[in-house]
Every structure is written in C-alpha cells, then in structure tokens.
C-alpha cells in the first residue's frame, strides 16, 4: 500500500500487461480518481508520437479543494524505444514517469507523490523511472538521455 492509503484499480494492471506483453499500447496515462481513493487509467494509447503523449501530460489538469482547475500531476508508463549509438541495434525500456508539475496545487502534489509507490509496485517489468516536474523534464531528448543513460544514438 502507498503511504496515502490510496489503492490501484485492477484496470491499471490489465492495461499495463496489455502494453508489456501484447504490445497493444505505446503508453498509458494514470490518474487518481476524483475522490483520491484509487489510481485509475485515464488513457491507454497506441499512438507512437512522443509529442502527442507529452502534450497529454503538460495539459493534464486537476481540481483544487476550492474547485479551481489548474495543472495536475499524473503517472504514466511509456514503452520507450531507442537505438544504441554503438550501432548494436535498438532497445526497449518500459519507463515509468511520475509527472508532477511545479505549478500544480500542493494537495494534488502531495497525493500523487505519496501514492506513487502503490502503482509502481503493482506494475511488474518497469525498466526505468523518472520524476518530472516541469515541461523540459518531459522533452523527448531529456527523457531519451535518462532512459538510455546517454547510450542512445
């Protein structure tokens, strides 16, 4: 269980297995349900366009306690593929992204950060993880560098 007590819905695990084993998806975006009780799938997609995925994250919103809508955190899993600079072919790395924009309200940041463990532990087969807090952190080149540990070409 996470430190917040939030749980992970079965659909998260199913979608993840579809991504990992059936290669049905390129990425999955997860969010906390409106009552903050459960982590659910917001979207699972086969779209290979990183920019489209990135837009989803940077445009994600959440409601503060007072009802104001602002930027919001998310979790995501992306089946990242890159070729090695050494020419030894390509690699796949299922990457977990904890997206928490600095502008998000503190309640949302707290809930997502303290619930992350629950989701990560439920998803078996994550190769890399990154924590992203501003738009630059989810630029393709930034992520590529982290995921490939600088070995991508």
């Amino acid at each position: 269980m996470s430190q917040s007590g939030a749980t992970v819905s079965q659909e998260c695990i199913t979608a993840f297995n579809d991504l990992k084993l059936a290669k049905k998806y390129k990425y999955i975006v997860f969010k906390l349900s409106d009552d903050n009780r459960e982590i659910v799938v917001e979207e699972a997609s086969a779209d290979k366009d990183w920019e489209a995925f990135r837009e989803k994250l940077v445009n994600a919103t959440t409601k503060s306690r007072s009802g104001a809508v602002g930027k919001g955190p998310r979790y995501a899993v992306y089946d990242f593929e890159y070729s090695l600079a050494s020419g030894e072919g390509s690699r796949n790395k299922i990457t977990f992204i904890a997206w928490s924009p600095d502008e998000a309200n503190v309640m949302a940041k707290m809930v997502y950060a303290s619930s992350k463990e629950a989701l990560k532990r439920s998803l078996n087969g994550i190769a890399t993880e990154l924590q992203a807090n501003d738009n630059d952190d989810v630029e393709y080149d930034t992520v590529l560098k982290v995921v490939s540990k600088g070995l991508a070409g």
Partner: protein, 470 residues
C-alpha cells in the same frame, strides 16, 4: 470554519474534510517552533515558540517551580526562566514532561473549541433541576480523555530514536486517548508536498541544518547529515558582528525600552529604559534578543549569491557599490549595513569566513559539505535523480539569496549534472512544508487505513510504531 465559534450541533457539517467527521490534528515540533493545527488546512492554526517559562516560588530548599506555556506567558517576570523542551544539539525531545505539557497546551487549549454541552446535559431539557447533579457531571467530564475524538499525526526528525517514537505514541494513546496515531518524518513530508517521492531535502531550521535523501518515499538512513549550522548558529554570527562593530552594538530587546527618541545613524541611542523591581533572567533576555535577531535576519542579512565565495577578489567591492539596508534597534539606534550583511552569513558555506563566536564550526559542518556527504552515502545510480530534485525547507532557508547560492555551490560541486532546486515561492509553504504535508495526508479519506488505531496499539503495545511508521 472557525474553531473558536463552533456551530450548534445541528448546523455542524458532518463532512468537513474528506470524509472525516472529526478532523485530525497535526503537530510538527521543532527546536524553535511548535506548529499545530487541523488536518486539511493550509497553515497551522497555532505556531508557538518551543520555549516555555518556569516560575519559581519560595526560596532555597522550599523553592517550587511551575511551568507555564504559551507565548503570552513569555513576558518579564520575577523568578522566571525560559526553557526549551527540545535538545539544541539534536532538535528532538529532551524533556518529556515539558514536551507533553507544551503539546497539551497547543493541541487541547489552543485547538479544541469548548465542547458544546449536549442538550441532554445542558440543563435546558431537565424538567426538575436535581441539586448536585452538575458537580458529579463535571467530574466525569474531567476524567474524559481530552483528545478521545481526534486522530493525531505527528512529525519527527529522521534521526529520532526508537525509544522516543514509542514514548510519543504512549502519550497520545494513554494520556490523551487519541483514537488513532501516525508518525511521519519531516523530510518525507516536505518532499511529498513538493510533488516528489524522491528528493534530497535540505532543512535549514532553527538549531540544525540537515540533509536527507528520500527515495520512493523512504528516508535513506545512511544519507542523513546534520550540523549546528542553522538559524541559532547564524544568530551567534550576528551577535559576534554586533559585538565587534564600531561602535559596539548593544542588543536592547523591545521589552526593555520605555520610550525612545529618533537619532541619526551611528549616533548613541536616546531611550528611556524600563526599570523592573526584580531581576530579569539571562534566559528570558536571550529569548527576547533572539526575536530581535530574527527580525534582523529577515530584513537585513543576505547570502552572497555566488558563483564562488564571498571572499573571492572583487566581490566585496561589488557589494560596497550597492545600496545598504538600515536597521533600527528598539532603542532607536540605527545604522546602515552593507558588506557586513553578506559577510555574516558566509560561514554557512565557507568555514574560513565564519566570524569568531562561541560555537566554531568545521568544514564538514558547512552546507556544501553536508550535501556532499549525504550524496556520497547513497548509491551512484540514485545520485542524478537526487541532484535534480532538491527540496529546501526550514525558516533559515528564507534568507535572501539562499537558493541562488545553493544552486551555484551545487553546480560547482557537480559539474555537468542537472541540478534543480525546488523552493516554494510562498514563504508559508517553505516554513510549514512538513506540517502542510502532514495536514494533507491526514485529511485524505484513504488515510483511514493507515492510522495506527487504538485497538492496534492496545493489542501490540508501543512497539507497533516501529513496525507501521517505517
């Protein structure tokens, strides 16, 4: 909703914060401040100094002492000493008796609204008043545990001892009757509130500065570094600077001043001092001086932003060419501070720049070295993520220029690495980040299943806290 004016029962919303009928209490105790409030709120309702008073009655062998709590008690008095319930060296509880009383003062006196008397007992519904009934009822109420309806989340330093953790749940459960309890570590809460499950948390507080690596919401024990280079140490530097100033600056806290006449910069004060028909203790005076020194920190002191040390050639010339800041003492004496306001904070970064003071420090105790030691103590693979997720918290981190200097120091120490500092712009968030994190956590509906319940405590004993609050 104001806790001071509880609504009648019928109007009271039963669902105030995320499903809890009674909102939990959150308590964050530091060496300088004890912060307490209701879960779900943005700032602690009550922020008190962690200092309390001890009043003496009688003399010699017949002397007895009574402790008094609350900032309104900390005024000039006869036979009065000011004490602190925390350890200056460790920022953890030293005097359990005083700690318990202080927390009761904050949690019960300050935060519990007078309980509305239930209609069955308020007399209005009694057909015939029956004589001594009231007295008996009062007795029953006195025996009631004061926090029997309030779950309590407390914070703790990451180096808190196992014994202290058990002690604190015992107090909550046995003395106060809390229905549920939880302990969270301050840097974990600060990291979470910054939206990070992993972070390097730099807490520049009152008695200590500490650096702690958090990974996936857990403290990496071996990373923990702490040193006395915090707010009080900086106060010592300011005192040293004032002492050695020409003319020497007397610290005259405001309680001593009856009235004052404005004087020119650098001129001797023209003030009438209050006379007390009893002796004011050194501990009270030091407490009052400290408040004055904090004002000076807020309005005058600045951190040299770097890059490089303040002592590097040319830097002081730059500062000299810039406007200074005037500070007026409560007695009216005032002067312009220019290069000294940078010099005085430089020792936090560079031990060779520390002014001569009672507490000298070593290189290893400076902030850059603490960070280096913390980072070196964790796995190489985790380091880049930590350096990219630095969270700063604590009152002393509010010093002007602090974040910029920290950034420059880190860039110099870790060339080529991505350094990113998260420093909440809101000063309340920076001062209260651990409290705020606890407040949100304890207000979540899902947190119900996290709390150590009274039943669990009764079945397992105080040792449960070690098992559950990892």
């Amino acid at each position: 909703m104001s806790s001071q004016h509880p609504l009648p029962n019928t109007q009271q919303p039963s669902d105030v914060y995320g499903g809890d009928e009674v909102s939990a209490l959150v308590l964050d105790a530091g060496y300088c401040h004890t912060r307490a409030g209701f879960a779900g709120e943005d700032v602690p309702k009550s922020v008190l100094p962690s200092f309390y008073g001890s009043l003496k009655t009688g003399d010699g062998d017949a002397a007895t002492y009574r402790d008094i709590f609350g900032d309104e008690c900390l005024i000039p008095r006869a036979d009065f000493e000011v004490k602190n319930y925390m350890s200056r060296a460790e920022s953890i509880v030293e005097d359990w008796d005083a700690a318990t009383k202080m927390w009761e003062h904050v949690l019960i006196k300050r935060l519990q609204p007078e309980k509305p008397t239930p209609p069955s007992k308020n007399g209005l519904n009694d057909p015939v008043p029956d004589g001594e009934g009231d007295v008996a009822m009062d007795d029953v109420e006195d025996q009631e545990k004061p926090l029997a309806e309030s779950p309590l989340l407390m914070t703790e330093a990451p180096w808190n001892t196992g014994k202290a953790r058990e002690k604190v749940i015992e107090i909550a459960m046995e003395s106060w009757g809390c229905p549920a309890f939880w302990l969270s570590r301050t840097p974990v809460l600060a990291a979470f509130a910054a939206g990070k499950a992993s972070a390097l948390v730099i807490d520049v507080g009152g008695a200590n500065t500490s650096v702690t690596a958090i990974h996936d919401g857990m403290v990496l024990k071996r990373s923990i570094q702490k040193s006395p280079v915090g707010g009080l140490w900086l106060s010592g530097q300011i005192r040293s600077m004032w002492d050695n100033n020409d003319p020497k600056i007397d610290i005259v806290p405001s309680y001593m001043v009856e009235n004052k006449t404005p004087v020119d910069a650098g001129a001797p004060a023209q003030a009438k001092l209050r006379k007390f028909p009893y002796e004011i203790s050194q501990s009270f005076r030091t407490y009052e001086e400290e408040r004055l020194v904090t004002e000076f920190k807020e309005s005058v002191v600045e951190v040299w932003r770097g890059p490089g040390r303040y002592s590097n050639p040319g830097n002081e010339d730059i500062v000299r060419s810039q406007p200074g800041r005037v500070f007026e003492m409560p007695n009216g004496s005032n002067q312009m501070w220019r290069e000294q306001r940078f010099r005085v904070s430089e020792g936090m970064w560079d031990e060779t720049a520390a002014l001569p003071a009672a507490e000298s420090i070593t290189k290893a105790q400076t902030i850059p070295e603490l960070i280096k030691a913390a980072v070196n103590a964790v796995d190489v693979d985790l380091r880049p993520n930590l350096l990219g997720n630095i969270v700063i918290t604590g009152g002393t981190s509010l010093l002007n220029g602090f974040g910029d200097r920290l950034n420059n120091e880190l860039m110099a120490m870790y060339p080529g690495m991505k350094i990113k500092i998260h420093a909440p712009g809101l000063t309340t968030e920076r001062r209260f980040s651990a409290w705020l994190g606890g407040s949100i956590l304890a207000s979540l509906g899902t947190f119900h299943q996290m709390w150590i319940s009274r039943k669990e405590y009764e079945e397992n004993g105080a040792g449960i806290v070690e098992k559950r609050c990892k």
